[in-house]
Symmetry: C2
Subunit: 138 residues, 2 copies
DNA sequence: TCCTACAATGGACTCTGTCTAAGTCAAGTA
DNA sequence: TACTTGACTTAGACAGAGTCCATTGTAGGA
């Protein structure tokens, strides 16, 4: 956390109250907030923060590789502070809850050359879908 | 194709000119059109078709399991008529070209119980990202 | 042919996200 | 500490994708 702020400052990132609260909101495991949710939480601490600033800051954190953009549904993008350990996502089809997961093996190797159509394959995203325990109980 | 129309009629789907042209537009391999593209192509054959009708029809075809919704970028959803053979997608990071691919193995088995958080896992989507031959050459 | 329930229409509306012009301020300099 | 400047923030307009709804049209059964 303050690690994050230190790293950013070290990279010459100009520190402002707005950027600090956005970075603070994005902390923890299994955190996957939409831009609007980030804005709402940031506004709790800094009421006058604008939507544009939140979007700008999120965009910069993504460019810096400090957070990841995730889109598990077909709606708003979500932002995942867990950018330093590779992982995939498990999503509840009913409530949208998201967990970070670490499958075994390397999914990249499962795509044979004959299925690559001449592409240079650089990455892979895996999204597991199912029903979470709370929704299954309900 | 007319298979599709036959199947739909057999399910009691009321056939209209609009539904027919939407179904006709969605035919072929490696077809991944946005709703707007479907609308544009449908309008070539039936100029007065409305956007709302295209959205309604696409939504119904998805519910019926005849086409798949795909979102490989964070923009518009795309519709994939290849719903009857399981497959995943390979996407060019530069131009957005999409190919249907068939990885080896079953990606579902790569998620150990300890990483399932009590979820009932039902499906998995895999999106490979890379650079297509034309973009690599350019 | 007539009826009626279902489908299509178009326009307003919502939700996400981007852009811009003007004002503000962090941090380096003296 | 005060000054300066370019980067940051703001509010609001704008744009793209998709949904909703009241009205109009029509497929297909009687």
């Amino acid at each position: 956390m303050s690690d994050l702020l230190e790293r950013l400052r070290g990279r010459g990132w100009r520190m402002t109250a707005q950027r600090r609260v956005v970075a603070e909101v994005l902390d923890g495991d299994h955190v996957h907030l939409t831009a609007d949710e980030v804005h709402a939480r940031a506004a709790d601490k800094l009421p006058e923060i604008s939507r544009a600033t939140v979007y700008n800051t999120l965009g910069e954190l993504v460019s810096l590789g400090e957070i990841l953009e995730v889109s598990t549904d077909h709606r708003a993008k979500r932002y995942d502070p867990n950018a330093h350990r590779p992982h995939h996502h498990l999503v509840c089809a009913r409530c949208g809850a998201i967990r970070d997961v670490h499958p075994t093996g390397n999914p990249l190797t499962s795509l044979p050359d004959s299925e690559r159509f001449g592409f240079t394959v650089e990455g892979v995203e895996v999204t597991y879908r199912g029903v979470c325990p709370s929704c299954a109980a309900a």
